[in-house]
């Protein structure tokens, strides 16, 4: 099934400098699976800039359809068809 992936806040620089991607994943996969998939197949920079253990590194916010994954099941959230998953780096500049 199709899932839309978005990167912003600088996270896109790790993924070919593209802010929007479409990926095809199997039904029943979780965000944990997706993060591993992205790290293995699409990440173009040093992995530690994106992942830490089995999750994203501190400072990257994960949103499912514009809602913080902490309001869902975080890593265990089961991805649904046509979900938009956004990975957003926190900015600190001013």
């Amino acid at each position: 099934m199709k899932v839309k992936i978005e990167f912003s806040g600088g996270a896109e620089l790790l993924f070919d400098n593209k802010t929007e991607h479409e990926v095809e994943i199997e039904k029943g996969k979780t965000l944990k699976d997706l993060i591993q998939y992205l790290a293995r197949n699409m990440l173009r920079e040093k992995p530690e800039l994106f992942i830490q253990g089995d999750t994203v590194r501190p400072g990257i916010l994960v949103l499912v359809n514009d809602t913080d994954w902490e309001l869902l099941d975080t890593l265990e959230y089961q991805i649904q068809e046509n979900d938009t998953i956004a990975f957003i780096s926190t900015l600190h500049g001013g």
Partner: protein, 298 residues
């Protein structure tokens, strides 16, 4: 309160007429603004537009915290500073320009970096705090001090063509702590690893992006003072200047195990100078020019 006559002078009514005519502000809202005190941490890219807008709107007292001096390569975006003020402390430069706009403003410059040693003392007397800083350690320190002192925090940040804004630990300090919204640490429990942070010479930032975010911070400070709430409580505004798109996303509520705002933490940590606070392992905000101006690449 609404039955009591407002205490604005005829002069105030004339000066702020175009603003207090708005039903959401009104004379009582203008009175609240005139009686309010807003502290701006960071007198740089975000601090400049926030300060000008709040000084113009009639906030009674504005404080500025910045240990840095105006340098020429700030001027492309820090538009309240000016060539004649190059070399001058930024907090003082901003006071000067805000007083030109509004002579009845009480403007207080803190010409030093916010540190664990001075933070509680500097923040304690203000009603609302704006985080306009430019580095992660300061952002965590500002948040922690705001939680300990019960101050609402409006946090803005910007890099390249993007900006972010959120309101933390709201509403206002006359409410009980239990009703406060999530703090910065609830949302970002762990500071980003040092290796993911770089300075702004490597990344850059567009002036109008800090202009938009700084104005939004000022707007939310006005709203918070007048109504007690912010549109960015438990929400994060994501501004993408390249696409001209503002998304507002729902973020998590208060974390019961938050290292600073949870009941357990509040019982242990009373001051950011305490040893108990050491466990949070906050690195001191860097003192040298490069890191002070550092912004995250990611």
């Amino acid at each position: 309160r609404e039955h009591v006559r407002h205490r604005l002078t005829t002069h105030d009514v004339a000066r702020y007429s175009r603003q207090l005519i708005l039903p959401e502000i009104g004379p009582f809202g203008q009175e609240k603004l005139l009686n309010s005190a807003v502290l701006i941490v960071g007198a740089g890219g975000l601090g400049c537009p926030s300060a000008l807008t709040l000084a113009a709107a009639g906030v009674g007292c504005l404080g500025f915290v910045d240990g840095d001096e105006v340098s020429e390569n700030n001027l492309h975006r820090q538009f309240a500073h000016s060539e004649p003020n190059i070399g001058k402390n930024k907090a003082e430069s901003l006071c000067e320009i805000c007083l030109r706009i509004n002579g009845r403003l009480r403007a207080v410059p803190y010409s030093r970096m916010l540190t664990r040693v001075n933070a509680m003392e500097i923040v304690k007397d203000w009603d609302v705090v704006l985080d306009c800083s430019d580095n992660a350690p300061t952002r965590y320190l500002v948040n922690d001090v705001c939680v300990l002192l019960g101050k609402p925090l409006i946090s803005g940040s910007a890099l390249r063509w993007e900006g972010q804004i959120s309101a933390y630990h709201t509403p206002m300090s006359n409410e009980t702590d239990a009703t406060r919204s999530a703090c910065y640490r609830c949302v970002f429990p762990e500071p980003p690893p040092a290796g993911t942070v770089t300075n702004c010479a490597e990344s850059g930032v567009l002036g109008p992006v800090v202009g938009v975010i700084g104005n939004l911070q000022a707007q939310e400070a006005i709203r918070l003072i007048v109504t007690g709430t912010s549109k960015f409580t438990n929400a994060l505004g994501l501004w993408d200047g390249k696409a001209c798109r503002l998304r507002s996303v729902k973020i998590r509520t208060k974390r019961t195990d938050c290292a600073i705002c949870s009941a357990v933490a509040r019982a242990t940590i009373k001051n950011v100078c305490d040893e108990a606070y050491d466990v949070l392992g906050l690195e001191q905000p860097a003192h040298d020019k490069i890191s002070c101006d550092s912004i995250s690449l990611l």
